[in-house]
Amino acid sequence: MSSVAEKVIAGDIRAVARLIRDIDDGMPEVREILKELYPSTGKAYVIGITGAPGVGKSTLVDQMLNHIRKDDKTVGVLAVDPTSPFSGGAILGDRVRMQRHSMDEGVFIRSMATRGHFGGLTQSTRSAIDVLDAMGKDYIIVETVGVGQDEVDVVKSAHTTVIVVIPGMGDDIQAIKAGILETGDIFLINKADREGSDKTMSDLRLMIDMDKKKYEGGKWKPPILKVQAVFDAGVMEFLEEIEKHRQYLIETSDGLQFRRKRNRVQDELTEMVKNRLIEEVLENLTETGEFDRAVDSIVEGKLDPYSACDNLVLPALGVSSGGPVKGSEVL
């Protein structure tokens, strides 16, 4: 086993931090290390927390850390913030709310930027989860705004998915409905002292009740809780719901090997193959200039994009197109 993998499994903070950086930066050499770490994963319980900016996700996570640490369990946190599409930079500010835990050896907090690469967020976050899992964290909390398919996928890969809203977000509830609302295992109304929390509660309840069929036969029905994270009000009850959901998963699925469940593995592998293909094929084509040449011929009207795509992809995959690929003079 490589020394990096050994250090990660031994819980070496610096090795873990650097490995996550390499994952984020897309360094190909991390693949071998992740292969070595994989047998040590699958033990941590993963909690996904999502909600619009400003609903109090980081403050909530901070309070959760406090409670979980009292039980002497260790926690890894991945806080995802958006990358500016204009500069490629990002301000990662989630940590500010959790910084009181930074000296606690049982807590590892890492901020990640979405970066906006091809589905890369999903993959790099999942790999980072594996790293924290292999280092022996009991819980891993992933915090994200949950906008876009990538972030939805990240949250979906958690054991328990938590959706945080605040009062007065009536229309926003409709807006998130189409995305991840269906995936919520627990709903939280944070800042519940604000006006409108009862209305938000009944909106959510109505929405969940409309899916009544989904919960027949003892299936998990998402609870809705009011909390005030900043005062730690209701957070303990929230953690109890997570525990209940965990028990439910243990009883109904094949135990805690939830991340190894078939459809999950299928999703992950699909993602991985897709990314890998893009990486290998597209990058090579860009380097050789073939890609640019194809773009030129389309722009000049010499080639249609469908043939161009065939010309680029099939040879790269070692597939013969079943006949001469037409090209020039099509248009």
Binding site: F86, G88, I91, L92, R95
Partner: protein, 134 residues
């Protein structure tokens, strides 16, 4: 994918100093320059800053101080990094730092000190020239 190193920077406010507008403007300028910026929040001890910088694997720590305690807080940060065997995180500082303190701070390992009047372009350019994403 990505396969490109991004510069990661931590902007930190050590000590009992509640003035972070400058730090936030710097953070914003760094972001606009394409860096990933982790902001520490207020009232951090050097211990907390160093621990966070290690967990975040940043290439640089930018310390902001406007309250006069830089002669303890800045060197202590550098010292803690050394104690932890970290030799590849650049530390620089900014804020209300009298000229007569600058030389001593640089001698203990603060790579650069930025004082009032420095433009955002200068601050960004310095990072681009002096901080290599590993």
């Amino acid at each position: 994918m990505g396969n490109k190193r991004h510069i990661r920077v931590m902007v930190a406010k050590p000590g009992l100093d509640g003035h972070d507008r400058g730090a936030r403007i710097i953070a914003r300028a760094y972001r606009d320059a394409g860096f990933e910026v982790v902001y520490s929040g207020l009232h951090q001890t050097p211990e907390e800053i160093v621990e966070a910088a290690i967990q975040e694997d940043v290439d640089m720590i930018g310390l902001s101080s406007l309250a006069g305690a830089h002669n303890y807080l800045f060197p202590r940060t550098v010292e803690l990094l050394r104690e932890k065997g970290v030799d590849d995180i650049v530390v620089c500082g900014g804020g209300i730092i009298p000229d007569e303190d600058i030389l001593a701070l640089k001698e203990v390992g603060i790579k650069e000190i930025f004082t009032p009047g420095t433009t955002l372009d200068e601050v960004v350019k310095w990072v681009e020239e002096n901080v290599k994403p590993r």
